[in-house]
C-alpha cells in the first residue's frame, strides 16, 4: 500500500517533469523540470530501498543527487553561453542545424 503511493507520486512527478521539459520555452525552466524527473527517480529509489531494507537504494539516490548537481551546473553554463551569444534562452529558437 505504502509503496504504491510512493511510486504513484514518483510517476506523477516524473510526468510533471516531462511536461515541463516539453512545454517550457525557457532553458532554465527546462533545467528545473529535469530536476523534477531526477527527484522522481530518487523517490523511487528510496522507496524501494525502504521496502527491501537495503541501503543500496539510498546510496544510489545520493549518487544521483550529486551527479544531478554536476549536470545542472554544466547545463546552466551552457545556457549562459547561449545567452551570451544569442541574447536569448528560448529553446524553440535554437534550430540552426536540422534535417
Amino acid at each position: 500500500m505504502l509503496l504504491n503511493q510512493f511510486l504513484l507520486l514518483s510517476a506523477v512527478l516524473f510526468c510533471i517533469g516531462v511536461y515541463g521539459v516539453l512545454a517550457r520555452k525557457n532553458g532554465v525552466l527546462v533545467l528545473m523540470s529535469i530536476e523534477l524527473i531526477l527527484n522522481a527517480v530518487n523517490i523511487n529509489l528510496v522507496a524501494f530501498g525502504a521496502l527491501t531494507a537495503d541501503v543500496g537504494g539510498e546510496v544510489f539516490a545520493l549518487f544521483t543527487i550529486a551527479v544531478a548537481a554536476a549536470e545542472v551546473g554544466i547545463g546552466l553554463a551552457i545556457v549562459l553561453l547561449i545567452y551570451r551569444n544569442r541574447r536569448s534562452i528560448d529553446l524553440s529558437e535554437i534550430d540552426l542545424m536540422k534535417g
Binding site: L7, S10, F14, G17, V21, G27, V30, I34, I37, L38, A40, V41, N44, L45, A47, F48, G49, L51, T52, A53, D54, V55, G56, G57, V59, F60, F63, T64, V67, A70, E71, I74, G75, A77, I78, V79, L81, I82, N85, R86, L91, I94, D95, L96, M97, K98, G99
Partner: protein, 504 residues
C-alpha cells in the same frame, strides 16, 4: 566468490572490501594523469599548452600498459561483490577506448592548437571522459554503470561546446546536453524500477530477480525498456538518434569523432553489460526490443543518410545505421550462445572504431584546406590529395562492408550470429542487414565517385597539408582497418575468448 562477503548493512560488521590494485590500475593511471594535467593547467596556465597534448598521449599509452599486463596475466578478476570486473571483454573494450582516445588526441593536437581554444582543460576533460569509459567496461552494478555513464558524458557535453563563440557549437552542446540528461533520467527511472524488482544494484542479482517467474512483470518490463531507451540514446539508435546529426555537425570535429566512436562504444558496452549480465533471463523482452531498434536504426539511418549533403551529418546517420548493425546480434543474444552475439558486437565495435575514426580524420584533414564539410567539396579530391582519397575510400567502403576491408568481417560476424540463431526473426534481420548494406553503399559510393571521378571545384588543386599527428592517426586507423579485413587472425582470435564474467 560471493562467499565470505558479509551483508553490507544492518548489524553486521563492516568488512573492508579487498582491492585488487592491478585490476584497478588502468583507471588509476588514467585518473592520475588526468589530475596531473589539470594541476599543470592550474599551475602553469599558458606555459602548459605545449605539453598538454603529448602528456595526454602519454597518459593513454601509459594506461595501455596495465591493460596489457592484465591481458597477459589472463585471469579474470572481480571486486566489490562483482560490481567491478576485469575480464577479456572488458580489457578489449578498455584497450579500444584508450586507443580510440589516443587517436582522438592525435586528431585534436593541431585542430585544438590552431583554433583559439583552451587546450589543457580540453585534454583533461577528454581523459576523464575516457576514464568513464574504461570504468564502464568493468562496471557490473547499476550504480557504477550510472556513475561511469555520467563521468563519460559530462565532460563530453563540455567538449562539444568547446568552440564557445560558435553558435553551432553552442547549439550542439545544448542539444547533446539536454537529450543526454533526458535519456539518463529515463534510464535512471528504469534503473530504479529494476532496483525495486530485485532489491539489489548488482547486475547478477538483477538477473536472478528478473528471471524469476514470480517477479513483478510490469515493473521488470518497464525497467528494462527504460534502461534500454537510455542507452539507445547513447548509441544513437533510431528513433533516439535525433541529437546525433546536430551535435556531430556543431562540435569540433575531433570531438565528433570521439563521441561517434568512443561514446557510442561506451553506450554499447553498458548495454551489453546490462543485457548479458542483468537481463539475460528476460530475452523474451529484450530480444524483440533489440530487434526493433536494430531494424529501425539500420533502415532509417541509411535512408536518411541518402539525402545528406554534409559529410559529418552523413557520417552521423551512417552511424545510426551502424548502430543498427551492432544491435542486431543482441536481438538474438538469448537464442545463440551468448558469447556468439557478444563477440559479434564487440568485433563490430572494434572495427567500427577504427574505420569511423579514420573517416573523421580524413574529414579533419580535408577541412584544413576547404574549411568545409560539404560533400560537394570532396569532388576531385583524388586529383590533389591521392593519399587522403585512398584512405577515405578504405574507410568508407569498409563502413559499407566491402571485402577485403575490415568492415566485411564485422558484418560477417553479425550475420553469422543472426543466421546461427536459426529463427525466422534472425533470418529476417539478416536480410535487413543485407539489404541495408546495399542502400548504405549508395551514399558511400557516391562520395567515392565524387572524390575519384569528378573535377575539383574551381579547379583548385593545391595539396592538403596533413600535419604529422593527423598523419599518424590516419595511418594507424587505415592499417587497422585493412588488417582486420585481410589478416584478422590473432586479433579477432582474441575476441573469441570474450565472454562476460557474470560478476561472481
Amino acid at each position: 566468490m560471493l562467499a565470505g562477503i558479509a551483508p553490507m548493512f544492518g548489524a553486521a560488521e563492516f568488512v573492508r572490501p579487498a582491492i585488487d590494485w592491478h585490476a584497478a590500475a588502468p583507471e588509476l593511471t588514467l585518473l592520475g594523469f588526468g589530475a596531473l594535467i589539470t594541476m599543470i593547467d592550474i599551475g602553469w596556465l599558458e606555459r602548459a599548452r605545449r605539453i598538454a597534448a603529448p602528456l595526454a598521449s602519454l597518459a593513454l599509452l601509459a594506461t595501455l600498459v596495465p591493460i596489457i599486463t592484465l591481458a597477459l596475466a589472463g585471469d579474470d578478476r572481480s571486486m566489490f561483490n562483482g560490481g567491478f570486473v576485469v575480464d577479456d571483454y572488458s580489457l578489449i573494450m578498455k584497450a579500444t577506448f584508450v586507443l580510440a582516445g589516443y587517436v582522438v588526441v592525435l586528431m585534436s593536437t593541431d585542430y585544438i592548437a590552431e583554433g583559439d581554444y583552451w587546450e589543457n582543460e580540453y585534454y583533461g576533460l577528454l581523459l576523464s571522459s575516457i576514464l568513464g569509459m574504461i570504468l564502464m567496461a568493468s562496471a557490473r552494478d547499476l550504480i557504477s554503470i550510472f556513475v561511469a555513464l555520467e563521468l563519460l558524458s559530462i565532460p563530453a557535453y563540455m567538449l562539444v561546446t568547446w568552440r564557445k563563440r560558435d553558435l553551432k557549437s553552442n547549439e550542439a552542446g545544448l542539444k547533446y546536453y539536454l537529450m543526454g540528461v533526458f535519456a539518463s533520467a529515463v534510464m535512471l527511472y528504469g534503473m530504479s524500477l529494476l532496483y525495486g524488482a530485485s532489491g539489489s544494484t548488482l547486475l547478477v542479482d538483477v538477473n536472478d530477480a528478473v528471471s524469476e517467474p514470480a517477479s513483478p512483470s510490469a515493473v521488470v518490463v518497464l525497467g528494462i525498456i527504460f534502461v534500454v531507451v537510455g542507452f539507445a540514446f547513447k548509441v544513437s539508435a533510431f528513433p533516439f538518434h535525433t541529437w546525433a546529426p546536430d551535435t556531430y555537425e556543431g562540435s569540433p570535429t575531433p570531438v565528433t569523432a570521439f563521441i561517434s566512436v568512443a561514446s557510442k562504444a561506451a553506450g554499447f558496452v553498458a548495454l551489453m553489460n546490462l543485457l548479458f549480465v542483468g537481463f539475460l533471463g528476460r530475452d523474451d523482452v529484450f530480444e524483440p526490443l533489440m530487434w526493433a531498434l536494430a531494424a529501425a536504426s539500420m533502415t532509417a539511418g541509411n535512408l536518411m543518410a541518402l539525402r545528406q549533403t554534409n559529410i559529418v551529418r552523413l557520417l552521423a546517420y551512417s552511424g545510426v545505421a551502424q548502430a543498427g548493425y551492432m544491435l542486431a546480434p543482441l536481438a538474438v543474444a538469448g537464442t545463440v550462445p551468448p558469447d556468439k552475439a557478444l563477440t559479434a558486437s564487440v568485433t563490430y565495435l572494434v572495427i567500427y572504431a577504427a574505420m569511423n575514426l579514420g573517416a573523421f580524420a580524413v574529414v579533419i584533414a580535408v577541412a584544413r584546406k576547404t574549411r568545409s564539410a560539404e560533400i560537394s567539396d570532396y569532388r576531385g579530391l583524388f586529383h590533389y590529395a591521392p593519399g587522403l582519397t585512398v584512405a577515405m575510400t578504405i574507410f568508407l567502403f569498409s563502413l559499407a562492408g566491402i571485402p577485403p576491408l575490415g568492415g566485411w568481417l564485422a558484418k560477417f560476424r553479425v550475420m553469422e550470429a543472426l543466421i546461427e540463431a536459426d529463427t525466422a526473426s534472425g533470418l529476417v534481420l539478416g536480410i535487413f542487414v543485407a539489404v541495408n548494406s546495399v542502400i548504405a553503399l549508395y551514399y558511400y559510393a557516391r562520395i567515392g565517385f565524387g572524390m575519384w571521378a569528378e573535377d575539383a571545384p574551381d579547379g583548385d588543386l593545391t595539396p592538403v597539408n596533413v600535419p604529422m599527428s593527423l598523419g599518424v592517426a590516419l595511418t594507424l586507423t587505415a592499417v587497422i582497418t585493412v588488417a582486420m579485413g585481410v589478416i584478422p587472425g590473432d586479433v579477432v582470435g582474441r575476441f573469441t575468448e570474450v565472454s562476460l564474467l557474470a560478476g561472481g
